[in-house]
């Protein structure tokens, strides 16, 4: 156990203060936010420049040069021509043409493979969905059954060796499963998307998961209507209009879903900031020396007082000044 260097305790406090500065943007644009903003932008630029040069020159050309290296040199030179001469500015178009064409060509082939080829491939699958057969399924397949954890999967695999499952209930209540595991499995039962729909213990003959089939059909419809919505050559009127409207609806549901996911992510960020201030990501020993919460409160007080003072100062100087813009 060693102590945190004073400079790092100071650092932690600085970090927390800046955190508060930027959070103050939520109240409105204010000098503290401006400080954080400009500091951040400046530091990021300084950081990036070093990285860029290290990785594109220092590292790459840490070898004896070849004739090949004239090509990039020429391109770079042309890019700088505009600072040297007015009538040679047009030379600057070569590096432009180069990078744009280079990356355009690259993305053409990149996209045609993954976003067209693979998506078409994935989209055109059989609409028939069979249930997962607990009797024959492999470990991975098993753990795609709702509620089946890897641990449970191995247990089931062992169980079915000794004596085959008669039914789902039999399979999911085998003695080797712990009570909590049984509870998990019980929670996941359900005829639409739950265990009963997705899995069977029948063995041999493969049963069809009808809801799965319906979903696959829906998936196909979603795709086709979506494509129709992006079809530019016809006006969205009449039947076409109605169908493409369905496309929009499904689109919107999709967006809703991704909004929901996003919210989780965003809130997670705020949570992490709070945990960080509390020193959750460092050892308790270090956290104890830094007193993050105290730092947070102190900074908050400073900033609130500061904003209030600046506000008054502003008012006194130019009467009828606009209050700090509300940022939301």
């Amino acid at each position: 156990m060693t102590d945190v260097a004073t400079i790092d305790i100071i650092g932690a406090w600085v970090g927390i203060f800046l955190t508060m500065c930027i959070l103050s943007f939520l109240y409105g644009d204010n000098p503290f936010y401006k400080l954080g903003e400009h500091l951040f932008i400046g530091v990021s630029i300084g950081y990036i420049v070093v990285v860029q040069f290290r990785n594109n020159f220092y590292v790459k050309f840490d070898r004896d040069l070849t004739w090949w290296d004239l090509a990039p040199a020429a391109l770079v030179a042309m890019m700088f021509v505009k600072f040297a001469s007015k009538q040679l500015v047009w030379l600057g178009r070569f590096p432009l043409a180069f990078v744009i064409a280079l990356y355009a060509g690259q993305s053409i082939t990149g996209l045609v493979g993954s976003d067209l080829g693979d998506q078409i491939k994935t989209a055109s699958r059989s609409l028939v969905v069979h249930k997962i057969d607990l009797q024959t399924a492999g470990a991975n397949e098993l753990s795609n059954v709702p509620g089946v954890s890897p641990a449970i999967a191995t247990k089931l695999a062992a169980e079915r060796k000794d004596h085959p499952f008669e039914s789902l209930d039999d399979a999911l209540t085998r003695p080797s499963l712990t009570d909590s595991e049984r509870a998990d499995l019980a929670d996941e039962r359900g005829v639409l998307v739950g265990t009963d729909a997705r899995a069977t213990a029948a063995g041999g003959r493969n049963q069809i998961d009808w809801f799965g089939v319906a979903s696959q059909v829906l998936l196909l419809i979603a795709l086709l209507t979506g494509l129709l919505y992006f079809y530019f050559s016809i006006a969205h009127k009449g039947a076409i209009g109605r169908v493409s409207r369905v496309g929009v609806w499904i689109l919107m549901i999709g967006f809703g879903a991704s909004f929901g996911y996003t919210v989780q992510g965003r809130i997670a960020l705020a949570i992490a900031r709070a945990q960080d201030v509390r020193g959750k990501f460092m050892s308790p020993h270090d956290a104890a020396q830094i007193h993050g919460e105290v730092a947070a409160i102190v900074s908050a007080v400073i900033i609130i007082a500061g904003i209030w003072l600046f506000g008054r100062h502003e008012k006194r100087h130019r009467a009828g000044a606009t209050p700090p813009a509300e940022a939301s």
Binding site: Q106, S143, D184, Y261, L269
Partner: protein, 297 residues
């Protein structure tokens, strides 16, 4: 129009900074007064877990840490959990990153999680085999960062040693490390763990190298990119996806060491609650307002 402002108008026009305040409280308070709902892994998360479990000792795994400090919130819990899992599986690890923001962060995390055991025997609240301290350039290597995004991916797919000039980040020749000597391109890695906060990241890996060299990949991603990656999970190009903070929390549970992720996931409840309330309030105000306008008209 009546003189006194109707409640719906006030609700529609009131200062959003109140919402900010409520959101702030919703995040801070539960940290001190946890709610504690149970956490159950989803199939996507389990699939990711299994892919790692299938590894054998001394398999070589590439961990690509494509993130910045901003996204640690969602990825760090998973990272710590998966590193523990990989270490107790006793596999060889190669770390790299395609994000220029990452290197100092990666260095720190390596010191905190790889150089020292995460869960030595007798760690409170930990069920599972203890892990050991990994030795740099023996049990793991840090290849460092290279600028070039997709091009670097393509390069690593063709010849990884060339991309990193045959050296690790601290200058150790890759050929001096037996298992690295034989891992010359992405195809030679048994698994790729993509700690991916955005672009370039899991999506680009799938697009640019996965289908070229058909590689085995699992990804942890920010919740927001999940819907984006889900198709690749369906098409089997990604063996598993760990979705955001809740996914990371689930993974911590699977690995058997609940920690910051689980704590954070608990706070999510309050946060989501606030957002839902905000939506409901907004709609109340909207509809009430509309009905009044109809009446007025």
């Amino acid at each position: 129009m009546t003189d006194r402002v109707h409640w719906s108008d006030r609700l529609q026009r009131f200062d959003r900074r109140w919402i900010f305040l409520i959101m702030g409280l919703a995040i801070v308070v539960p940290l001190y007064l946890p709610i504690g709902f149970p956490i159950k892994p989803r199939p996507m998360t389990k699939a990711a877990f299994n892919a790692v479990e299938e590894l054998k000792p001394n398999d070589v795994v590439l961990v690509s840490m494509d993130l910045d400090p901003a996204s640690t919130a969602e990825l760090e819990p998973y990272y710590r959990a998966v590193i523990l899992q990989l270490k107790r599986k006793n596999v060889k690890l190669a770390f790299t990153t395609l994000w220029y923001q990452a290197p100092p962060l990666v260095e720190r995390w390596l010191r905190e999680t790889v150089d020292v055991p995460i869960a030595p025997a007798g760690t409170p609240g930990y069920v599972g085999a203890p892990d050991r301290a990994y030795v740099r350039n023996v049990d793991y290597v840090y290849l460092g960062f290279r600028e070039g995004k997709q091009n670097i991916m393509l390069g690593m797919g063709a010849d990884l040693h060339h991309v990193f000039d045959g050296k690790t980040d601290d200058g150790t020749p890759l050929d001096s490390i037996p298992w690295m000597k034989t891992s010359r391109s992405l195809g030679d890695f048994k698994l790729m763990v993509l700690v991916s906060a955005g672009s370039p990241g899991a999506k680009e890996y799938v697009q640019y190298v996965q289908n070229r060299y058909n590689l085995r990949m699992v990804a942890v991603t920010t919740a927001v990119s999940t819907t984006d990656l889900a198709p690749y999970y369906q098409s089997g190009q990604l063996l598993g996806i760990v979705a955001g903070l809740s996914g990371s929390a689930e993974y911590e549970v699977l690995v058997g060491k609940p920690s910051i992720g689980v704590e954070g996931a608990d706070v999510l409840n309050a946060g989501h609650g606030v957002v839902i309330v905000a939506i409901v309030l907004g709609n109340l105000a909207y509809f009430a307002g509309r009905r009044r306008k109809r009446k007025a008209a």
